[in-house]
């Protein structure tokens, strides 16, 4: 059975992939979706708020109506649907960006350590140890708090998460590389006169795809949680840019007055994370048969 066939038989993977894809589509087509709903994420609707009661939306379920499909944001009256779909862009974008960066840095460092000889390995090994030993959340908070507030936050977030988090990928890559380079087929290629660069590209990299891909799939939801957490703490994405974590942060002060404001971003965050975890889990089963016992 081919891998694709195995993948399609995996119900968790298919469901996860479907939801994840949907979320990505939503994020990418945010402008289109808001054009359909006829709302944008920034316009205030004071008329829809009860100012005397702190700015709670008027009407049931946080002001759900024909115009405002998910109601409006308390305090501002901005369209919640529009903010959710634009928020998906930030939440997903940061997570994906951080993951890609993380994997790139980790892959390069791990390959260099694994193939670069004793000194490169020792130096990079120390560096990887350092990155792994750094209290990353603590440092991320400090870092994000002191960079000028007008730097582009989403990009910054992705970079900070990646820079503090590439240790894992690097360690896995290094380990796999060290193991792969002792394989006889690498020796065979060397005997044939191939240089290390060619060996890395043709013999080692293909062998790294599966472990690195499964690992990447696993850290993607983690990165999403980190982004949400940092935004929740107020050092992440800055309003008025919407992000789910930051919406949840403001929602904490509204959870009884306007439960919709908690339920919508919270539920979506959970659903998306679940989808990515399912994908990671399924990918691992498909790509890494040794680990087939992981989470059936």
């Amino acid at each position: 059975m081919t891998r694709a066939a195995v993948a399609f038989r995996d119900r968790g993977l298919v469901a996860g992939a479907a939801i994840a894809t949907l979320m990505v589509v939503v994020a990418v087509s945010a402008p289109l979706l808001t054009a359909i709903s006829g709302q944008d994420p920034t316009t205030f609707h004071d008329g829809l708020l009860d100012s005397a009661r702190g700015g709670v939306p008027v009407g049931a379920f946080g002001g759900v109506s024909g115009e405002h499909w998910l109601g409006v944001e308390p305090g501002t009256g901005r369209d919640l649907f529009a903010r959710i779909v634009y928020g998906a862009r930030v939440s997903l974008g940061v997570a994906v960006g951080a993951t890609v960066l993380q994997v790139l840095i980790g892959l390069l460092a791990g390959l260099a350590a694994g193939l670069g000889g004793r000194w490169a390995d020792a130096a990079l090994g120390r560096l990887i140890d350092l990155v792994l030993a750094v209290p990353s959340l603590v440092l991320a908070i400090s870092l994000l708090a002191i960079v000028p507030a007008d730097w582009p936050r989403p990009v910054l977030l992705a970079v900070v998460i990646a820079v503090l988090g590439w240790g894992g990928t690097a360690r896995i890559t290094r380990g796999e590389t060290l193991s792969l380079r002792t394989r006889d087929y690498v020796a065979a290629a060397r005997v044939s006169g191939a240089g290390w660069f060619r060996v890395a590209r043709r013999e080692i990299l293909p062998g790294l795809t599966a472990p690195v891909l499964t690992y990447a799939a696993l850290i993607l939801p983690t990165n999403m949680i980190v982004e949400a957490g940092l935004s929740f703490l107020g050092v992440g994405v800055r309003p008025p840019t919407p992000s789910w974590g930051q919406m949840l942060s403001t929602a904490t002060t509204w959870f009884r007055a306007d439960p919709m404001y908690v339920v919508v971003p919270g539920g979506l965050l959970f659903l998306t994370l679940l989808a990515f975890v399912l994908v990671a889990n399924g990918l691992r089963r498909v790509l890494d048969p040794r680990q087939s016992e992981f989470l059936r």
């Binding site: 120390r126 750094v134 603590v138 908070i141 708090a145 957490g229 974590g245």
Partner: protein, 329 residues
């Protein structure tokens, strides 16, 4: 062993030195001036210069850094009005914001973080290993599926979401529990546990999922190993095989992870502490970062770095203790 310890300590020092250097560099490059906040509203430039000097932040960064290192190793004296405050080694300086010794702040906050971490870890281990064993032994298919569903869910919920729901449910709607407020264990163990229950549960939700997965994979992997087959071939009862042989093998990765996770909770439970109003080191950090309280930020970072380094060493030692194949060199 001695060589191992030396290398470990050397490595730890290197990591901590790297961390402080990075922090000093970052805060020096940052546009914020801690003296402005300390000086307050309506502070004139002359006054600001005096305050800056009094705080010692008018020195070039390398001088400040050298002073800091000196204090760390040998202690430092701070002029203080009519007195001189002596800050004994390891001196991390005084908070810009409250002028408390940073070491005192840290030792004051640490019990909270330790309480949080130990309790959450214990709860996670009990629940996680229990669930992992239940599903790993595959006695009931539905149980296996249930545990797996929960594990996946545990992976997919951010801690602040769990915390939010717990608070809402138990403190607001049902009002079964008071809003968490830290009570030291020594004051009243019962209240200590009662107040920490929700944060523990919030943290354990995620941690237990990881442990359940590991236990399950570990038990199944170990049960497939040759020596289990040997044990069966020699007529050992299944119960004995599971608990004396397989369980031990399955617990190996968990033991190391436990040490690392205790440190991880202590260093990264910022959200939990903030959400539940627990005065731990995470909360200390968030407050300090917003106030550009450099000594506190550096102190917290050093402490958390130290915790992680120590946890790594403990994990190694534990591993060597329970796996006779491992030798520390």
């Amino acid at each position: 062993m001695t060589g191992y310890l030396f290398r470990r300590i050397g490595g730890a020092l290197l990591v901590l030195f790297g961390l402080t250097t990075i922090l000093y560099a970052l805060f020096y490059l940052a546009p914020s001036d801690p003296a402005v906040l300390t000086c307050g509203k309506g502070c004139t430039p002359e006054r600001l210069a005096d305050v800056r000097h009094a705080m010692g932040v008018d020195d070039p960064v390398h001088v400040q850094y050298a002073h800091f290192l000196e204090g760390l190793v040998a202690g430092r004296d701070y002029p203080s009005g009519p007195d001189v405050r002596h800050c004994p080694a390891p001196c991390l300086g005084y908070s810009f914001e409250t002028d408390q010794p940073v070491t005192a702040l840290l030792t004051d906050r640490l019990p909270v973080s330790v309480s949080l971490a130990i309790g959450a870890e214990a709860l996670s281990l009990v629940v996680g290993i229990g669930a992992g064993m239940l599903s790993g032994l595959r006695r009931h298919r539905w149980l296996d599926r249930l545990v797996n569903g929960l594990v996946l869910t545990g992976y997919a919920v951010p801690v602040f979401l769990v915390g939010l729901l717990l608070l809402l449910l138990f403190c607001v709607v049902l009002q079964w529990l008071p809003f968490p407020a830290y009570v030291p264990f020594t004051t009243n163990p019962l209240l200590w546990a009662q107040n920490l229950l929700l944060p523990w549960v919030a943290l354990a939700t995620i941690q237990a999922a990881a442990y359940a997965r590991l236990t399950r994979a570990g038990i199944q992997e170990t049960l497939a190993e040759d020596h289990i087959r040997t044990a069966r071939a020699y007529g050992l009862p299944e119960r004995r095989i599971i608990w004396r042989r397989a369980f031990r093998g399955a617990m190996l990765p968990l033991v190391t992870l436990t040490a690392l996770d205790v440190a991880a909770i202590m260093t990264s439970a910022v959200l939990t502490e903030t959400m539940f109003g627990l005065p731990g080191i995470g909360q200390l950090l968030v407050g300090a970062v917003n106030q550009i309280d450099l000594p506190v930020v550096v102190g917290v970072t050093l402490l958390t770095g130290l915790l992680i380094v120590v946890a790594n060493a403990v994990a190694d030692l534990l591993y060597a203790a329970i796996d006779p194949r491992v030798q520390l060199r």
